[in-house]
């Protein structure tokens, strides 16, 4: 089949062989290349779409969970605040109670002490009065060497103590 015409030449046989070759190539590629590749491309675009959709859904879920946690946190904060307030209030009350109690006890103690002191004082005064009277009587009877009847002597002593009281106790 050599030497048919020039560069621009048509040979029907060659044309037909070319045609057949191309059709065979078309058939083979259609089966082995385009079918799997188109399927792959489709799958891939589907997968990408699905992935994006999943991401969108997940995002919403996460947003919801976040919202939930935020709510829970807020609630907890509120509760904690309440507990602290309650505790503070109770503590205050207890403090008041304790203070009142102590105040009362202290007052009682003071009262008791005052009473004892008063009693002691009265006792001391009485004793002092008696002794002073005896001593005075003794001294006076010795100095004056005259008897004074007892009632007059007590009258004198009382006067004296009265005067002393006025001078010393006040």
């Amino acid at each position: 089949m050599e030497g048919h015409g020039g560069v621009i030449s048509i040979s029907w046989q060659i044309l037909l062989v070319e045609l057949a070759s191309f059709l065979i190539l078309l058939f083979v590629l259609g089966k082995f290349l385009f079918k799997p590749i188109t399927k792959l491309l489709e799958n891939r675009s589907n997968q990408i779409k699905n992935t994006f959709e999943t991401i969108e859904v997940e995002k919403q879920n996460i947003e919801k969970i976040k919202q939930d946690y935020q709510n829970q946190l807020n609630e907890l904060n509120k509760k904690v605040g309440e507990i602290i307030q309650e505790a503070t209030r109770k503590g205050d009350i207890q403090r008041q109670e304790i203070i009142a109690q102590s105040q009362k006890e202290a007052n009682k103690l003071v009262e008791r002490a005052t009473a004892v002191i008063e009693k002691e004082k009265e006792k001391a005064i009485l004793e002092l009065k008696n002794q002073t009277a005896e001593l005075s009587i003794l001294a006076a009877s010795k100095i004056l060497e005259r008897s004074i009847d007892e009632s007059m002597a007590y009258q004198l002593v009382d006067d004296f103590i009265e005067g002393m009281n006025k001078e010393t106790l006040h």
Partner: protein, 250 residues
């Protein structure tokens, strides 16, 4: 003045002629067509043997090409039709691209540099155009398109449309073939010049740079031409088919 095929290719042609010569005419173009086809099929099988969601290597290469063709088609004929015609257009694109580029390899010949190949390709497009045109609109509806919108202009319009339709495969095949052949010729002439000039190197020392430095430039232009011609052929094939299938607009 058919250019003699280079030695290795000629050897292959002779060998195949001995085996298949009785049934099939064998020449360099056919052998190259077969080589290209086998190469593409091997590439396809390699790429598809382990298809992965994340493409790599051969799969990536083919995916890029196929997706480009698919996008081009989807823009013109819609998604459904594009998917249907993808194998045809994809095969056309792959075959023409590899055929064009293989012509740049010294010692090999571009199958698309032979008018017979491009006619075969254009013929397929031509036949499919009209087949799907008739299928889409019905025979009468499709023939109406030849008559045109005004019935009494039919005697004028029918021949015009007829010639127009015939011119499509003609121009399609001539464009691709002429581009590839002229590139081949230019490279061949420059190669010849090297031989001629080197024999008289002393005389032509100053002009030797022409055959030495021009081929790379032509090669680079050649790669560009290969890509552009592939695109143009596939693009026009898509346009012809989509026009034939679409509703009448003119």
């Amino acid at each position: 003045m058919e250019a003699e095929a280079p030695f290795l290719l000629q050897f292959l042609v002779d060998w195949l002629n001995q085996i298949l010569g009785k049934w099939i005419p064998i020449n360099a173009t056919i052998v190259m067509t077969w080589l290209v086809s086998i190469g593409i099929i091997i590439l396809a099988i390699v790429a598809c043997s382990s298809l992965k969601m994340i493409p790599k290597g051969a799969q990536n290469l083919l995916e890029i090409l196929i997706e480009q063709v698919l996008q081009l088609m989807e823009g013109m004929m819609g998604q459904k039709k594009a998917k249907f015609f993808l194998p045809l257009m994809g095969t056309l694109a792959l075959f023409i691209l590899v055929s064009n580029l293989i012509g740049l390899v010294p010692g090999l010949k571009a199958p698309t540099g032979d008018w017979n190949t491009t006619i075969a390709l254009a013929l397929i497009v031509f036949i499919l155009t009209h087949f799907f045109g008739i299928k889409g609109k019905g025979l009468i509806g499709y023939l109406k398109h030849f008559v045109g919108p005004i019935w009494w202009l039919a005697p004028l319009m029918v021949p015009i449309h007829f010639i127009g339709e015939l011119a499509k495969p003609f121009s399609l095949s001539i464009r691709l073939f002429a581009n590839m052949m002229s590139k081949h010729m230019a490279l061949g002439c420059l190669a010849l010049l090297i031989i001629i000039f080197s024999k008289k190197a002393i005389l032509f020392a100053q002009t030797l740079f022409i055959p030495l430095f021009l081929p790379p430039v032509i090669m680079m232009l050649g790669v560009l031409t290969c890509l552009i011609q592939t695109f143009v052929f596939v693009f026009l094939a898509i346009v012809y088919i989509s026009i034939a299938m679409e509703e009448e607009e003119h």
